[in-house]
Symmetry: C2
Subunit: 363 residues, 2 copies
């Protein structure tokens, strides 16, 4: 087992990474303050891991809530079911919520913990690669609105994260690739050494080699934690973590939530960011091609949907959270493993890149 410490002053917390962590009461004990625990999970994860997780919390008054599975259920209405359950069981403000599942469960449960009685503790047990490398660090929680993804939410740090790599054995290939998109992202942002490691180990990762997965998760969390610790509320450099996300969110929103997986959209989004960087002359065409190859190797899509033409893309990007005072902020690349935040790219340049991207696919 590897342990990482996310350093955020009085909101610091550990991330334990390794096999067979579910049910380890000894790891949980120091981080549950009250007597009441509610495990929130979904219909897919519950039959696989709920019993094991419940064993870990058998020392407390532990309840469970099983929500439907899927990004389309990340809504205020489903979120409210958590409050129905908490209030129905008379949970007080010293209770602990436990998120057992992927990013949707983590985001909704964390947001419920942020708002229940104005804030209670929560513990993350992410069961997908994406949530292990993404939601484990950063404290972002929230739900979607029909007009935009993650538009309603809060920053709320977990008390503890248990990333049990054994749970990745039941993850389907498509979900594993989606997680690898975020892993690649950390390499592209500011870790060229990790990028080279990924090029060498992508096969092992896709074959679910447990040691390779543990290494990749720990390195990803470490990279993210360093960025987040320096900028908890996303005023500055933290926005680097949005590499591929502004394009990616446009794809997710434009195609309807659930059609593309988040990681798939981010994978293609990073390809678009690389192509735009190359068009601007910031990186070479070869570097852009190298990024694209790694994303292909990870089993991810690299082509934006033809039905989203450049005009529609720009419309969708205009409602993104990264817009500031009407200016679109993008994360682009100065080199492979060195990304930068910019608000100096014109809509025309983005449009030209997208037209070119679509035209090449049709050719």
């Amino acid at each position: 087992m590897k342990t990482l410490h996310v350093d955020l002053g009085e909101r610091s917390y550990p991330i334990h990474i390794g096999p067979d962590l579910l049910g380890r009461t000894d790891l949980i004990q120091p981080y549950v303050a009250g007597r009441q625990v509610m495990i929130v999970t979904n219909e897919t994860v519950a039959p696989l891991y709920l019993q094991q997780a419940l064993q870990g919390f058998s020392a407390w008054q532990c309840q469970q809530l099983i929500l439907p599975d899927g990004e389309q259920y990340k809504t205020l209405e489903i979120w409210n079911r958590i409050f129905d359950a908490l209030l129905g069981a008379r949970f007080d403000r010293r209770c602990t919520l436990v998120a057992l599942g992927g990013g949707v469960i983590g985001d909704m449960t964390g947001f419920a913990a942020a708002c229940y009685q104005r804030g209670v503790d929560f513990i993350q047990i992410p069961t997908t690669l994406l949530s292990q490398v993404d939601s484990s660090v950063g404290g972002k929680t929230g739900v979607n609105h029909p007009l935009g993804k993650n538009m309603i939410g809060a920053f709320h740090q977990p008390r503890l994260v248990l990333a049990d790599t054994t749970t990745l054995n039941t993850l389907d290939d498509r979900q594993l690739s989606a997680g690898l998109a975020e892993v690649i992202k950390y390499g592209l942002i500011n870790d060229p050494g990790f990028l080279a490691w990924l090029e060498a180990n992508m096969g092992a990762l896709r074959a679910r080699d447990q040691a390779a997965l543990s290494d990749a998760i720990a390195r990803s969390c470490q990279d993210k934690a360093e960025i987040v610790a320096a900028d908890e509320r996303e005023s500055g450099q933290r926005a680097l973590l949005n590499l591929g996300h502004t394009f990616g969110h446009a794809i997710e929103t434009g195609m309807g939530y659930g059609e593309w997986l988040h990681g798939e959209a981010v994978g293609t989004g990073m390809v678009l960011a690389a192509e735009l960087s190359a068009q601007l002359g910031w990186i070479t065409a070869e570097a852009s091609q190298r990024a694209r190859s790694l994303i292909v190797q990870a089993g991810l899509p690299v082509q934006a949907p033809q039905e989203l033409d450049s005009q529609r893309f720009l419309e969708l990007m205009a409602v993104d959270k990264k817009v500031q005072d009407g200016k679109l902020r993008l994360v682009l690349m100065r080199a492979l493993g060195e990304s930068v935040i910019t608000d100096q790219v014109s809509p025309e340049a983005i449009s030209r890149m997208l037209d070119h991207h679509h035209a090449r696919a049709r050719a």
Copy 2:
């Protein structure tokens, strides 16, 4: 105009108190960061003050949203209308929300500001005495759930509060009295000098003497600010502010939201707290009577509803936020002007006090 500074480090903000502050762009200017402003108000306040408020924000791209008026609309569903409006108008994360109205509008708008894109700025323009002395300080925001009041919410500090005393001229007598309940509360908690001042000036306050009102608002905000600055997240002494509230919330929930005004329930709740303190021998019967007299003078009810017998009362109090690990925490009095937090009072003692309270009313 009086100005108070609430000292919370980087979240510090000023409260301006006085007549004719609505529309004072000079006071607002320093506290609006972006270009977009959304004024949220209700159907009662809009015809009276919205035009004047809009003038104050004419330098920005300013939109308005008018919600229905009343505690029964303080729900997740109505709260979501704020997001519909913000996203429909493509507001970005540098926007400012303005709450123009009483406590319900302030709580819902502040909570929307806490959660929109994980947190945007907001400005409070409270137009009732209750909201001027209560919501102006403390950063508590939220909505109700059918199973409990203010159960879903966040701590989110405003950037600025404008307490325009002129708006109190259109407040009906019942609402004014409800506000006076919270004013009296500050005296009872830890300000015996203010309590004596209130006994001498209650007539002037109820006659809406502007100078007396300004003094009472400033003193109340000052008293509250001192408690909050020492304990922003309500882990300790801040709970003193709940004097009268645990009993009061039980009355509000038990009678259905909107039947009793919040301040009325708090007024009666403080009478019950005084009677329990006297029963325990912590204060004299004369002191309890003096508290009751001041609450009567303020035009507030001092008798709990007969339909809430002691058993029902205890049930309602059991779901209150002040419950910690199954123990009920109450604020009681050691003297008039010296309140304390305790979890050492048995349900039997509370029951006996309530039975006695009801019996005396029936006699």
